[in-house]
Symmetry: C2
Subunit: 296 residues, 2 copies
């Protein structure tokens, strides 16, 4: 019960928040540092249109490098459609995060199609790539910038056809950092009650300083895979005050202190966060530890 | 059960972290803003040697102003010795935080006397000012920069004579931001078991991003009075990466979202935090909300 897997999503969610293209060798060197610190699960890129997200233009090369160099690590990539799934599969990726939004308006803004179209495409992916492991990345699971607060009943209603289609893992994403621990617990318990076999993950943005408290709330409800980004990289450097994800090193500190077994070397992870700050200086970091590691 | 009192300690713990003297009228205007937002409990200053902490040189004038202007607010002041208690009493203060450290080495560094000397002085204060309400401010309650980790048995042993002397309220201070939720729960439950009648408070520094999660852990163990500072003001502007207290506005956001009744107007509180940032620009703020209130 005292084991938690940390899924580092900085190379996808963090890097994509940086406007200037990060050279491939810099990206790879950060992934090297992460793996060297003991991180075993990484979302490394997304297979999306390079026109929509130019930062991810090197997805295939990056994924091929990682798969070849680290055969024992668990790499996943974000995919918004059948075309992305095809490229991911052909590159050798066997785990994808299929991104949909609980909110229709956010979904259309994010993926440029309706939720119904995305669901139809998922069925195509499942048919054409039956060996692909698919995690449903549920964006705006707790609230949406356009549609406001979301409730556990919204989640339950929305995921039903996905679970029936064969989805076994759902990642609850607090895209805008609006969730609170009471809501996180309520949502998770409601899903666990209806779908006891479903694996849940959590992905909390730290916009309102709720990253640690909501992630711990999820863990203490039984969630054993949690997402975060090195240094809390995320947000948008052009939106004043925008914040990133929960910082991996903060999370590792808390959980290690509480006795969770993570297999991650905190000083090495902090070194990785410091290195990242050096090679990507023009970015938003919401993490505390890499700034204050002299106190540890 | 869903009521929590927030004790704003920024005018003491926050202001004292700022090296340059903050003019009295600026301090008072920030206190005005805090009270205007609905804050009812404030630690407004400390009665200490102006040589040791020049920032607190205006303690008497500040306290007199506050007591006269806001007869219904609850003001307390930090006091390290009999002399401080005397001045506080003569100024009209009826609630003091008597500061001691669980760690002897930190105590000597902080108060310039031994813990035994401080205990003897407390007995004098209790005798000379029997109507003074005294909260024991227990610094380094979870860990010390010199002596390392502290455990619940250390706390229990240390507070015994204090409780026997008549102390009814103890504020557990995580001075260096090293506690974790498991430790917070363990410590609080141990104290509650031995001293069920004791009122506990919590005061968490956000050094390692643990402010929210540790404060919530305490609240969910039954602690109903929690300390924080506007904007997360605190730390030391001359220690790179040092962090302040838990930010009051972040705490208010979380608890309000969870349904706690606080009687605090969050937009007004955020305005207060923004105002403070303007009038004390050269300081460390660890709060998120006042930076990103455009997202609320």
């Amino acid at each position: 019960m005292n084991q938690v897997e940390i899924i580092e999503v900085g190379p996808r969610d963090g890097f994509q928040s940086v406007k200037a293209y990060i050279p491939l060798d810099i990206k790879l060197s950060i992934i090297d540092e992460l793996i060297n610190s003991g991180i075993k699960h990484l979302q490394i890129t997304s297979f999306v249109s390079p026109k929509a997200i130019p930062q991810m233009q090197d997805a295939q090369e990056l994924a091929a490098y990682c798969l070849q160099k680290y055969p024992n690590a668990h790499f996943m990539a974000l995919v918004p459609n059948l075309r992305g799934a095809k490229t991911a599969w052909e590159t050798g990726i066997r785990q994808i995060s299929y991104v949909v939004s609980l909110s229709e308006r956010h979904h259309v803004a994010n993926i440029n199609r309706t939720r119904a179209e995305s669901f139809a495409d998922l069925l195509n992916i499942q048919m054409q790539y039956p060996e692909l492991e698919i995690c449903l990345d549920l964006a705006t699971a707790f609230g949406c910038p356009f549609e406001g607060r979301k409730h556990e009943q919204d989640v339950l209603g929305f995921i039903k056809p996905y679970v029936e289609s064969g989805i076994r893992t759902i990642n609850l994403c607090d895209t805008i950092g609006i969730a609170n621990p009471a809501q996180v617990r309520k949502t998770i318990r409601a899903i666990q009650q209806v779908y006891p076999g479903l694996e849940l993950q959590i992905h909390i943005h730290d916009t309102r300083n709720m990253g640690m408290v909501n992630t711990l709330a999820a863990i203490e409800c039984g969630v054993t895979k949690v997402q975060s980004t090195l240094g809390g990289l995320g947000g948008c450097p052009f939106a004043p005050g925008a914040s990133g994800n929960l910082a991996t090193e903060d999370l590792v500190f808390m959980l290690s202190e509480m006795g969770y077994e993570l297999g991650i070397d905190l000083p090495k992870l902090i070194e990785a966060a410091r290195y990242q700050t050096k090679v990507i200086p023009d970015a938003i970091y919401s993490g505390h530890l890499h700034k204050i590691s002299q106190h540890i």
